[in-house]
Symmetry: C2
Subunit: 312 residues, 2 copies
């Protein structure tokens, strides 16, 4: 697997940014750990998702490339897949609920993606997706439960560990599980022997926490969280990787997410989305666990709606 991660990284490099790693003395002093932030909010299309999307598209056969790809997403993966397809000239269909915000639709359109509307429910989404596949022969790419996507996402942690090989801990948020599964793979193959991976999840969408507790994939009971990137479900491909490679998942409250987000905005002067702040929120919550350790946080993305911020 180590070779596969390295090959993937080489393959996608021309299409992704090597994102910067920032530090904050203020937040370090406040937490008592040696802290590094991998800024995927500065990534192309504003989130880590372009890594996995690009790898998935590059892995297609020529025949598949000719017919295009399809996914269902109203979030960062939709933009990322459209951009990845735009880079390598592959047709991209995005199935999106007809009530998705205009700003998200436009983000797909500017990269040349074709939006196919569905009703805002799972049944309609899957039915419309199947219709697209039947009609066009497009290959379905899942936003997180796809081994090529997971391997692509691993490159964020791989870059991080190449710059900071002595990290004791890596922390990411958990939504669909693609980022943390990729991070677990990279930690195993490129981190030091004792490195530990932690996941952060909102109480309001804690499927991964309960899945790990119960040893089987559980569903979200609510998705009523400000961390809109984390409302999705684990899948059968990333779950076993998470079971094997993740030390613990820690849940945080909505107000803890907002406070952590505000701390990053105010002190680091960078824009991160609520999902990204979940990783710092768990560090603040469980401070003693991480004290005196060298901790790396992956800031997953920076796509926020400036007309609708949670600071008031």
């Amino acid at each position: 697997m180590k070779k596969e991660l390295s090959a993937c990284h080489e393959a996608i490099k021309p299409y992704i940014h090597k994102t910067p790693i920032l530090e904050s003395k203020h937040i370090e002093n406040f937490l008592g750990s040696d802290l590094y932030f991998k800024c995927e909010n500065f990534q192309r299309a504003g989130a880590f998702k372009i890594r996995g999307a690009t790898n998935a598209v590059l892995k297609l056969s020529e025949e598949q490339k000719r017919k295009g790809v399809v996914t269902h997403s109203s979030g960062n993966f939709a933009q990322a897949l459209a951009l990845a397809c735009c880079s390598v000239n592959v047709k991209c269909y995005i199935v999106m609920p007809d009530d998705a915000p205009l700003v998200k639709r436009n983000a797909v359109i500017v990269y040349g993606g074709e939006i196919i509307n569905c009703a805002p429910n799972l049944e309609s989404r899957e039915r419309v997706c199947k219709q697209v596949i039947d009609k066009t022969g497009a290959t379905f790419i899942h936003p997180s439960n796809d081994i090529n996507v997971i391997v692509g996402q691993s490159t964020a942690a791989k870059e991080f560990l190449e710059a900071e090989p002595e990290l004791d801990v890596l922390i990411t948020p958990i939504g669909g599980g693609g980022l943390i599964a990729g991070t677990a793979l990279a930690a195993k193959h490129f981190g030091k022997k004792e490195i530990e991976v932690y996941g952060g999840e909102p109480f309001e969408a804690d499927d991964a926490y309960r899945s790990l507790e119960n040893g089987k994939i559980e569903s979200n009971r609510t998705t009523d969280t400000i961390a809109d990137g984390l409302r999705t479900q684990l899948g059968d491909i990333n779950f076993p990787i998470i079971q094997q490679g993740v030390k613990a998942i820690i849940r945080v409250r909505e107000n803890e997410i907002i406070s952590a987000m505000r701390l990053i905005w105010e002190r680091m002067k960078i824009i991160v989305e609520p999902s990204s702040a979940v990783a710092l929120a768990l560090l603040i919550k469980e401070r003693p666990v991480f004290e005196d350790k060298k901790v790396g946080i992956i800031l997953s993305g920076g796509n926020v709606d400036l007309d609708n911020l949670p600071f008031y």
Copy 2:
């Protein structure tokens, strides 16, 4: 003067960050120029001001250091001077109107500055400042009309030009004139021969534009601008440097400032204050002047009140 700028830069280096230079393909494509952003919003205390403040403090005699320094400011210079003094263990008095926001008072206090209240008018400010000097023997340091401060501010452009020596244009906002005067000095001594310096100023606080037009220092007729760092006046020390080294000052409207700020936040995922956005606003406004040129913008700071943003 070139030697003096270099000596200053060496002297203050241990106390300042070398801030990163960012690019944005999106904004470049939109404007048709080759664009670089020097991120002083990531500077210590959140703005370029620490450069000049540190130089001014380091230039004090031992006797002066023992007695401390005083300034009047409710903005970024107050924090910066308090931090600079904290670094070298000099007493710092800040005369601040008694209606200054708590967040600004706290920022001074955390760095160990002592706040002396005055009434929110010029007469009271100057009177209280004089009282502090009479009582303590502290040395007055002006936020912008002081040659040591100006030389300190020049180091932002010096760093910028060391990284990007081929810049055709440097753009900064103009408030009190310290940053642009320092930038003009650095451009002359470290830029290529044809380099041009432009200043951006709000129509609502256009003393520098009119001063340059009329060949003498003019007063602001209003200071009703969202760019709170730019409400101050030019002074007799920086004005002649600006007359000599600045190609033109371009004025922008309040809505243009807010749009430019939003563009930086959304596309670059970094937090800049309205004053910083003035520089990009003028580039957008006068796009044809800068087309196909290599343009450097100094983003002056990132201190904003998240409870009171202009995006709604």
